[in-house]
C-alpha cells in the first residue's frame, strides 16, 4: 500500500526471525526485518552496531508479539478467539481491553464511521481491480452483523452476536509502532525512529537534523515519492493503491462505510497525517478516508498537519 523508501525491499530476503543491519548516512544504523505484511525497521543514531541490533530485536519481537496476538488471520490470536466465541461471553486481558476501549472511543468520536465490526462486509466486497459489485441483498444481510453498538462490552467481558467479527486491522500496526518505540526508548538514550511500512514514530531528531522519510505515493505507474522531514512524533499513511474496483466508470476504494455497507465515495487516494503518536496519526488517516470528499475539510478543522493525494 505504501512504504517508506528507507525501508528494505521485499520479504523473501529476510529470515523471519532476525534483523538485518544496514549502515546509513549521518551515523544512523538501521535494523530491518519483515513483519505485519510490511518491511519494518528501527533507525538508531549510534556508532554501536551491536547495540542497534539488540534494540532491533526488541522492536522485532514486539511486532511479532502484537501480530500474533491481534492478527485476524491467525487462528491462535486473541481476535480469532473473540470471533470464534461470537454469541458467548469472552474475557479478555488488559491490553486487549485497552484496544477495545480505544475502538469504542474512536467509534464515538467518528459518529459511528470507524467501526471494528465492519470487516464482515469484505465477504461481499472483493477489491481485486475487477468490476464485481455485490447485490444489495448480500450487503443488507451482512449489515445486520455490523455495528459496534451491537457488541456487549464491559471490561473485561466482550460478547459478539453470532456471526459478528471484530478486527484491529485499522489500529494494530500503528499501535505496534508506538509500543515498540516505548520499549526501545526505555533501553536507550539514542535518537530512534520505528517505521513499520510507512507508519512511524520518532522520539527525537538525530544531531545531524530531522529524520528524512520518503512516503511512496499510491500510484503504481510512477516512482513518485513525497519526502517528509520528521523531528519527533508519529506519522501514518493510508491509501488504496491496489485495492479498488471499477464499475461503470466509478472507482470504488476499499474503505467501506459501515452504515451503508458501500465503499466511501470520493475518498483520497492517499492521506498522510502527523500527530503526537503513530496510533493517533493512523486514526486521523482512517477518519479522513471515511469522510470521502470531506477528508481535507475534516483534517483542516482538526488542525493536524496532513498531506492528501487525490
Amino acid at each position: 500500500m505504501q512504504r517508506a523508501t528507507a525501508a528494505p525491499g521485499d520479504a523473501q530476503s529476510y529470515p523471519a526471525t532476525d534483523v538485518r543491519i544496514e549502515q546509513r548516512d549521518g551515523g544512523i544504523v538501521a535494523a530491518c526485518f519483515f513483519a505485519m505484511a510490511s518491511p519494518c525497521e528501527l533507525l538508531v543514531e549510534t556508532p554501536d552496531v551491536e547495540k542497534a541490533r539488540a534494540l532491533g530485536r526488541i522492536v522485532e519481537s514486539e511486532a511479532r508479539r502484537i501480530e500474533a496476538k491481534f492478527s485476524r488471520y491467525r487462528g491462535d490470536s486473541v481476535v480469532s478467539a473473540i470471533n470464534r466465541g461470537a454469541g458467548t461471553v469472552i474475557q479478555v486481558d488488559a491490553e486487549t481491553a485497552a484496544l477495545i476501549d480505544y475502538a469504542a472511543h474512536c467509534h464515538e468520536l467518528s459518529d459511528g464511521l470507524f467501526d471494528v465490526t465492519s470487516g464482515v462486509l469484505r465477504r461481499a466486497w472483493k477489491f481485486d481491480g475487477s468490476d464485481r459489485v455485490p447485490a444489495q441483498s448480500e450487503i443488507d444481510a451482512l449489515l445486520a452483523l455490523v455495528g459496534f453498538n451491537r457488541i456487549e462490552w464491559r471490561t473485561p467481558h466482550i460478547t459478539l452476536k453470532p456471526g459478528m467479527e471484530i478486527d484491529f486491522g485499522g489500529i494494530g500496526k500503528e499501535y505496534a509502532v508506538d509500543r515498540a518505540l516505548a520499549l526501545v526508548e526505555a533501553e536507550s538514550d539514542c535518537a530512534l525512529l520505528v517505521n513499520f511500512g510507512g507508519d512511524l514514530r520518532a522520539n527525537r531528531p538525530p544531531v545531524a537534523g530531522p529524520w528524512r522519510v520518503a512516503i511512496e505515493r499510491p500510484d503504481t505507474n510512477r516512482e513518485a515519492r513525497m519526502l517528509l522531514e520528521v523531528t519527533q512524533g508519529g506519522l501514518a499513511t493510508s491509501g488504496d493503491t491496489h485495492r479498488y474496483l471499477v464499475r461503470d466508470g466509478v472507482r470504488y476504494g476499499h474503505i467501506l462505510d459501515p452504515r451503508s455497507g458501500w465503499p466511501v465515495r470520493d475518498a483520497p487516494r492517499s492521506v498522510t497525517v502527523a500527530a503526537g503518536s503513530c496510533t493517533e496519526a493512523g486514526m486521523f488517516c482512517t477518519f479522513a478516508m471515511l469522510n470521502g470528499a470531506d477528508a481535507e475539510k475534516l483534517l483542516e478543522r482538526a488542525g493536524v498537519p496532513f498531506w492528501c493525494l487525490r
Binding site: 474475557q91 480505544y102 472511543h105 468520536l109 459518529d111 500527530a275 503518536s277 493517533e280 486514526m283 475534516l298
Partner: protein, 430 residues
Amino acid sequence: MQLKPANPQLRRGLMAASCALLGGTAAQAQTAAGEDQSWQVDAGLLYYKENAGRLRTIEPVVSLKKDFGDQRVLDGTFVLDTLSGATPNGAIPSRKPQTFASPSSTSLTPRAGAKTTLYTIAPGNLPQDPHFHEQRAAGDLDWSQPIGIDNTLSFGGHLSTEHDFNSAAVNAAVSHDLNAKNTTLSAGFNEEYDQIHARGGDPIPATDYTLLERERAQTKNVAGALLGVTQVMSRNWIAQLNYAYDRSQGYLTDPYRILSVVDGSGSVTGYRYESRPDTRVRQSLYWDNKVALGPTVLDVSYRRGKDDWSVTSDTVDVHLRIDVGRDMYLEPHVRWYRQSAADFYHLYAIQEVPLPTYMSADPRLAAFTATTIGFKFGVKLAHTGELSLRLEEYQQKPADRSSPLSQLQGLDLNPGVKAAIVQIAWRQDF
C-alpha cells in the same frame, strides 16, 4: 461524523483516547514482562512518638497479596506492635503531689498478699501512668472475586489480641458496576466482637477509684454498614461518596481512665472511674475526589462524622502526588480535623453536684482541632518494587484546657498532643 465549524474536540478526543491506550498498555506491558509476578509483598515499619515522653509505638506490618487471575485476589496483613511510654490516666494536674496505682494493682496501700505499684505525680504535672507497655498482634485476611459480569464480592476476617483486649471481626461487601464501569455502587457490613479484660479486672464505671471495684471480663460488639458510590466524572476525575453507619454496644468505658473530683475551689478530693453509655451510634459521610493534573494526582477528601454522644467531626485531607523524574515521586500531605466534645466529657467532676451517670475526661472525647503535615517520598526499585519514606507531624490542640476555679488557675489541664510519625515501606512483586 459531522463537520462542525472548527473541530479541535476531535483532535483532543483522539489524543486523549490514544494516550489512554498507549499509557495503559505501557503499564500493562511492565507486568507482562514477568508472567509469574503473582505475589505482591508489602512490608513496612511505622514509628510513632508523642512529645514529653508519652506514647511511643513501633509497628512492623507485613502484607501479602496473591492474584489468582480473573480478578480473584487474596490479601492478608499481619501487624505486630509495641506501645510503650507514659499515658495520661484522665486525672488533671493539681497544686499538690498526686499518687496513683497502676491498673494491675489490687490494693492502693501496700499489704501482704496484694500487689501495689504506685506512681506519684509532681504538682502542676499531668498525671500519666509511666508503666504502660502493651504488645498487640493482629491479622486480616480478605478475599475478593467477581460474580457474574458486573459484580464483585469481597469478604474477610480480622483477629487481634493483646494482653487485655481481644477482637474478632468479619466483613462482607458487594459492588456493582454500571454505565460501562463508570459508576460503581457498593454495599457492605461488618460485625465485630471484643473482649475487654483489663489488668486487675474491668472497673465498674463511675465507682470511687480508691475502692478498686472491678468486675470480670466485659464485652462489646460493633455492627456496621456502608453504602458507597464511585463515579468517573471525567477522563481525569474520579469521585467517591460513602455513607457509613455503625452501632456499638456493651462495655464502651475505657478501663484505665479516671476522672478527678474537685471541690468548689478546685482542690482534688478524689477520683472516679470514668463511665460511658453502653451504646454509641455513629454515622459518617465521606466524599473523596481524585483528580489527575497531567502526571500529578490530587486527592482531596472531606468527611463529616456525627454520633449520639454529640461528637461531630470534620476532616479535610489533601494529598498531592508529584512525579520527580521517572522513578521517584513526592507526596505532600495535609490533614485538618476538628471535633466537638462528647456531652459527658468534662475536664473534672465537681464534688458538690450529684455525680452524673456518664462522665469521662478522655482527651479523645474533648473538643479539639488537629493538623497533620508531612510528605512521603517514594523510589521505584527494579521493575516492580517501591521503597518509600513518610515523615509527618501531628498536632492536637484542645479547645478547653483551663478552669476558672481558684486552685486550678494557671494549670494546663489538657495540654494536647504533638507527635512525629516516620514510616518506611517496601513493596515488591514476585
